[in-house]
C-alpha cells in the first residue's frame, strides 16, 4: 500500500508526466480536427490518440517481459557483491579488466536502454569507475549481441563490422573524455544519486 502511494505521488510530481498527457491530449485534438498525420495518414488508423496509447501499452508490456531477471540480478548484486570486489574489477584502478567487464555485460544484455539505468546505478553505488559505467551504457544502447546479429542479417556483415568497430572506438575515447570533463562536484552528484538508490 505504501509503495503504491509513493509511485502515484512521484508520478504526479513529475513534469514529463504532464508533458506526455498534454501531448496525448494534442493527438486527440488532431483526431477531432480530422487531421491525418503519422500513423493516421498511412495505415488507415482512425485515431492518433488511441494508437499512441496502444503502442505505449504494447511497448510497456514487452519491456515487462524482459526486465524481471535484470532486477533480480540487481538485487543479488547489491546483496552478494561487496564494494571492494566491484572496486577491484571495475573501479578506478581496474584498467583494461574494468573496460572488458563493462563491455561484456553491456553486450550480453537484453532490453531497452532504460533497463540499463538501474544496473549502471548499482555499479556506481558499489564504486565502479564512471568511465566504465558510461561505456557499459553506451554498449548496451548500440552494440548488444542480439542486435548485432539482427543488424548483420538485415544490413550486411561489412556494414555491421564497420559501424560497430567505429562506435566502440569512439565510445572508448569518449567515455574517458567525459570523465575528464566532469568536475569533482559533478561526480559527487552522480555518485550521490547512486548512493540513495
Amino acid at each position: 500500500m505504501k509503495n503504491e502511494k509513493e509511485i502515484l505521488l512521484t508520478l504526479l510530481k513529475s513534469k514529463v508526466f504532464y508533458v506526455a498527457l498534454a501531448m496525448l491530449a494534442g493527438l486527440f485534438i488532431l483526431d477531432a480536427l480530422g487531421l491525418k498525420i503519422g500513423v493516421a495518414a498511412v495505415s488507415g488508423e482512425t485515431s492518433l490518440g488511441v494508437s499512441a496509447l496502444s503502442s505505449a501499452g504494447f511497448q510497456f508490456v514487452s519491456m515487462l517481459k524482459i526486465v524481471p531477471p535484470i532486477f533480480l540480478m540487481i538485487g543479488l548484486l547489491d546483496i552478494w557483491v561487496p564494494k571492494e570486489t566491484m572496486i577491484r574489477f571495475m573501479g578506478e584502478k581496474s584498467g583494461l579488466v574494468g573496460i572488458f567487464i563493462a563491455f561484456f555485460i553491456g553486450a550480453m544484455s537484453a532490453g531497452p536502454l532504460v533497463a540499463a539505468f538501474p544496473v549502471a546505478q548499482i555499479m556506481l553505488k558499489k564504486g565502479a569507475r564512471y568511465s566504465n559505467v558510461l561505456f557499459f551504457l553506451s554498449i548496451w544502447a548500440s552494440a548488444k549481441l542480439p542486435i548485432l546479429f539482427f543488424q548483420a542479417t538485415a544490413l550486411g556483415v561489412t556494414y555491421t563490422v564497420i559501424t560497430n568497430l567505429t562506435l566502440i572506438s569512439v565510445y572508448l575515447v569518449g567515455t574517458l573524455l567525459i570523465e575528464k570533463a566532469l568536475s569533482p562536484q559533478d561526480k559527487a552528484l552522480i555518485y550521490g544519486l547512486a548512493e540513495q538508490a
Binding site: 513529475s14 511497448q59 537484453a110
Partner: protein
C-alpha cells in the same frame, strides 16, 4: 521470446538458486532489493512509455522513408541524425527499415547516421536518465553518442 531473453532468464535463475543454497535470508533480501529497484523506476517508466507511444504514432517508417529518400549528401546525414535522435523504434522495426531505406535509394552513410542515433541518442529517455545520473551526465552522454554517429556516418562514407 528471443534467445537472448531466454539466456538472461536462465542466468538469473541459476544465480538465484546458488544464492538460495548459500543463504536463504540474504536471498530474500536480494529479491526485495530488486523489487524495490523496480518499484522506484515505475513512476519514471509510465511517462516514458506514454511519450514512446506518442512518438511511435507520429514518426512512422513511411514518413522516415519519405524524408530520408530525397536528401543525400551531408544534409541527408544530418537529417538522419536528427530524426534518429528524436524517434524511437524497437530493433525489430529499425533494421528492416534500414534495409528498406537502402533499397529505396538512401545511401549507407545516411542510413548509418539514422540508425546509430536511433539506438544511442535517446531524447525520449531524457527525463528518466536525468533522474538516475543528473542532467549534466545525460547531456554529455547523448552528445557523445550524437558525435559518434556522425563519425560512424563519415567512416561508412569513406570505406563503403
Amino acid at each position: 521470446m528471443d534467445l537472448s531473453t531466454i539466456i538472461i532468464y536462465g542466468i538469473a535463475l541459476a544465480l538465484l538458486i546458488v544464492s538460495l543454497v548459500k543463504d536463504r535470508g540474504k536471498t530474500k533480501k536480494a529479491i526485495k532489493k530488486g523489487w524495490m529497484a523496480f518499484i522506484k523506476i515505475l513512476p519514471v517508466l509510465i511517462p516514458l512509455f506514454l511519450i514512446v507511444g506518442i512518438v511511435l504514432s507520429l514518426v512512422t517508417p513511411a514518413m522516415i522513408k519519405q524524408v530520408m529518400g530525397e536528401e543525400s549528401g551531408i544534409i541527408g546525414v544530418l537529417i538522419g541524425m536528427v530524426i534518429g535522435s528524436v524517434a524511437f523504434m524497437p530493433p525489430f522495426v529499425t533494421f528492416p527499415l534500414g534495409a528498406e531505406l537502402l533499397s529505396n535509394g538512401a545511401g549507407y552513410p545516411q542510413v548509418a547516421a539514422f540508425m546509430t542515433t536511433l539506438m544511442a541518442v535517446g531524447l525520449v529517455y531524457w527525463s528518466a536518465e536525468t533522474k538516475f545520473f543528473g542532467s549534466k551526465a545525460v547531456i554529455l552522454r547523448n552528445s557523445m553518442a550524437f558525435i559518434a554517429s556522425g563519425i560512424v556516418a563519415f567512416v561508412v562514407w569513406m570505406v563503403m
